[in-house]
Amino acid sequence: MKPRRIMIAAVGLSVSLLAAACSGSTTSTSTSADNGSGTNAREGSSTDKASHKQGGSLTIANTQGQTWTCQFNPFNPAVNPVSLGFVYEPLVYVNLLQDQKETPMLASSYQWSADKTSIVFTMRQNVKWNDGQPFTADDVAYTFDTMKRVPATDLYSLWTGAGLRSVTAAGDKVTMTFDQAAGPYFFNFANQVGIVPKHIFSTGPAAAHPDTWDDRAPVGTGPYKVDPCSANNIQYVANPNYWQPGKPYLAKIQYPAYLDNGPANLDLGSGKAQWGSQFIPNIKALYLNKSKDNHTWSPPVTNVAIVPNLDPSHAATSKLPVRQAISLALDRQKIALIGEGGQQPVANQTGIVVPTFQKYYDQAAVAAAGYDKPNPDKAKSLMAGLGYTEANPLKLSIITITGYTDWDASLAVVKQQLKPIGIDLTVSDLAQQTFDDRLYNGNFDLAYYGQAGGPTPYYELRQMLYSKNSAPIGKPASFNYERYLNKDVDALFDKYPTADDAGQVDIIKQVGAAMMRDVPVIPTTESVNWFQYNTADIGGWPTESDPYAQPAAFNVPDVEQVLLHVYSKSAQN
C-alpha cells in the first residue's frame, strides 16, 4: 500500500469540509445529496465524462470454484453476483469508497421525510425492460412486496430487521415507510436490491417460488443481456435499448467459469483476461512484471480480526489486560507483510478501516491510547501482572478456517509475536461448518474472523458490537460473536440513524474509542477488494485516484458502474 491515498470530495458541503485531506483529480462534480433530511439526489456521473465509441470485449477472471448454473434470479444470493449490475439494476448506486457518493439509477431522485421514517422515490422516465415493456413504479413496489410475501427473498431483512412497513406505488412515485428512522438501511434497499419486472415475476413459477425460481433468460433494465450462457462461460451482450444513450461501451463481456485460482491467474498474467478479482500470490512476479499494462489496486473495506470470547465463562479472554496485551504485542505490519504478502494493509484497534473511512478515524486518540505502534514491553508487563511469563505462559487456542492459507500464515506470525509476552497460542484449523458452529455458539477462546461491511464503519462495528447481535453462550449469535455487552455503546448505535452527518462521524469516533478502551475485538489486517486490471485495450477502470466504484467483479451492484465506464481502446479508431 502506498502511504498516502487520495480521496475524492463527493458529498455535500458539511462533509467536504471534514474531508479536507482530499486532493488530486477531483474533477467530478459534487453530485449526491448530503445526508441531511429532505434532499434530492441529483443527476450526475463520476469523473468519466467523456463519451466513447461502442465495441470491443472484455474477459473477467474471478474464480467461482464451479461451473455456471445459468440461473440469474436476483433473489438467489448464490447467483445474484452475475445478474445484479449486469441485467438488474438498483434504485440508487451508493459508493462505499467515495463516502457514500450516490449515483441515481432507476430512481431519478428521492426525498426523505424529516424524521427519516419514510422516503419517496421518483422513478426515471423512458426506461424499458429488455423485452420492450416499460419500467414503472409498480415494478418497484412489486419487488419489495415479493420480499415481504416470501421472506427468503428478503436478503437484507428489510421487512424484519429494518422495520419496513409498506411500499406503495402511485404514478411515478414509490413511497416506503418504516417503523423507525431508516437512514442506515438506504444502502441496502436503494443500492443492493435489484428491481425485477412485475410482468415476469407475477406469473407462473416465478410468482409461486420467487426464491427458488431459476430465471434462465433474465429480463432486466441493465446495460447487458445474457446471450448465451453455458456451464463454462456467460456471455453478456450490450443492451441496445439501455436507458443511458451510448452506453455501455463494450459490446461483449465474457465471464468464464474458473474452478481454481491458478488458471485464472495465468489468464490474467497473459492478458487473456483483463479484469481480475482474486488474490494473486507473489503478484509482482506472477502478474505485474508480465506486462506493463498489468495493474493492481485493492482498496480495503473491512477488518480481519482476532475475536476473543468475552463471556465470563472464558476466564482468560474475558480479562481486559489479556486482550490489551494481545493487541499491544501485535506487530501488524509484519502480519500483513508475511501473512498476506503485503497485499493487505494493517488494521488498527479502533476497527475503522483506513484509508477508506479516514474521516471517522481519530489518529490523535489512537496515539494517546498507545495503540499507534506495537508495544511488546507494555504487553509483557500486563501479562506479568497476571502472573504469566514466557517461561510460564498462558495457554490459549484460536480457531480458524481450513484452507484459508493466508490466515494460517498470519496466525503463525501472531503466535510468534505472542510467545515472548507469555501467551502460548495453539492454532486449530476447522472445517467451515465446524468453525461457524463454534463461532456462532461461542465455543472458542479466540477466533480469527472477518465481518462484512457497509458504506461507513457503522455497519461493521454495529454488527460486531451491538448487544442485540449477541446471544448467550450455547445459542447462536448473529454477528456479535465475542459477546460484547455495553449499554453505552448500544446507545451510540441507537442514536446514529437520526444523527446528522457530523454527529454520525462523532458517534463512530466514540465507538472507536470504546474499541480501544474495552478491546472487544482485535483487528489485525484489513480485507481488501481484490482487483487487477489490464490497460492494453481496456480503459476507464476505477483507480486509486478515481475510485468511482468498488473494483472487484464480485461486488454488486458496483460491477455495473465499472461496466458503464470501461471501453475498448481499439474500438475508438
Partner: protein, 333 residues
Amino acid sequence: MPYLLRRLGFFLLTLWAALTLNFFIPRFMPGSPLQALRDRTHNKLSPAALEQMLTSYGFKPNENVLVQYVDYLKNMVTGQWGISIGATLGEPVTRIVRQALPWTLGLVGVTTVLAFLLGSLIGTVAGWRRGGRLDSLLPPAFVVTSALPYFWVGLLLILVFSVWTGGALPSDFNYDSGMQPAFTPAFVFSVASHALLPAATILITSIGGWILTMRNNMITTLAEDYVRMGRAKGLSDRRIMTAYAARNAMLPNLAGFAMSLGFVIAGAILVEYVFNYPGLGYLLYNAVQNTDYPLMQALFMLFTVAVLVAVLVCDIAIAILDPRSRERDRSGR
C-alpha cells in the same frame, strides 16, 4: 436360477442398507442445512426467513425422522433428488448431475476401458514371451507407475507438458471456455486436447494392474493341458495365444473389470480435482466442501448403485460364462 435370484436379493438388501446409511450419515456430520443456507445468504437473513427458505428448498427439519426417511427413500427411487443448497444454490440436483455425468463417463469411462484392453493385450504378449524383451521391460515399468499416486502423476504431467511447454496442452477444464458446445471439429479438438493429460494420468496409473494380472494368468494358463494339446494338434502360435490361453486367462480379470466399471461413475476424484475437470468427482468434492446435502446424497446414492449394479452384472456374467457356478448351485451348496 435360484443362484440369480439370490444374487438379486443380495443386491436389493445391500442397496437398502447403503441408502439408509446415506440418509443417516449426513445427519451426524457437523453443521446442518440451516447453517449451509446461513452461509449462502451471508448471514443476512432473519431466522424466520431462513426457516422459510429451508422449506422452500425441500427440507422439513421439524418433521418426524421416520417420515423424512420414508420420503427420502421415495425421492431417491423416483429421481426427485432435490435442489442444491451449496454454491450452486437453487439448481436442481438432477440437472447438475446430468451436466457433469457425460464428462466423467467420457474421461474415466473411456480410459478405464482403454486401460483394460491395452493392459490385457500387453499382459498377453508379455506372458506369451515370458522373459522376452517386452516382458522384462513393460510389466516392471508399469508396476512402478501404478504405485504412483494419481495426483502426483497429474501434477508431473502438468509441469512437463503444460508449464514447461508454455501451455501446449491445457492443464485444466473440459474445453476452451470461449467456445460454445457444438459438434464442430474445433470443439471436438478442444475437448480431446483438454482430456489428454487427465486421461494419460489415469491410464498410466491404472494400466499396470491389468498388465500384471493378465501376464500372470497367462503363465498359469500356458501350463494347462489344453494348451499343450493345442500345440500337439499343430495349431498356430497366434491361435493358441489368443483363442486358447488368453481367452481363459482373461476370465478372472473380467470380474475385476466389471467392478472397475462400477467405480467409473465415482470419477477419479483426485484426477478431476487436479485438472479442474467438471465431472462427478469434482462435483462430489465441491458438494462436501459446501455441505450441499441434497447433492451429496444423490451422488453417494449414484456411486453405490453403480458399483452394486456392476457387481450384479458381473455375477450374471460369471453365471453365464462359468458353468461351475451354476453347478454348485444345483448340488445345493
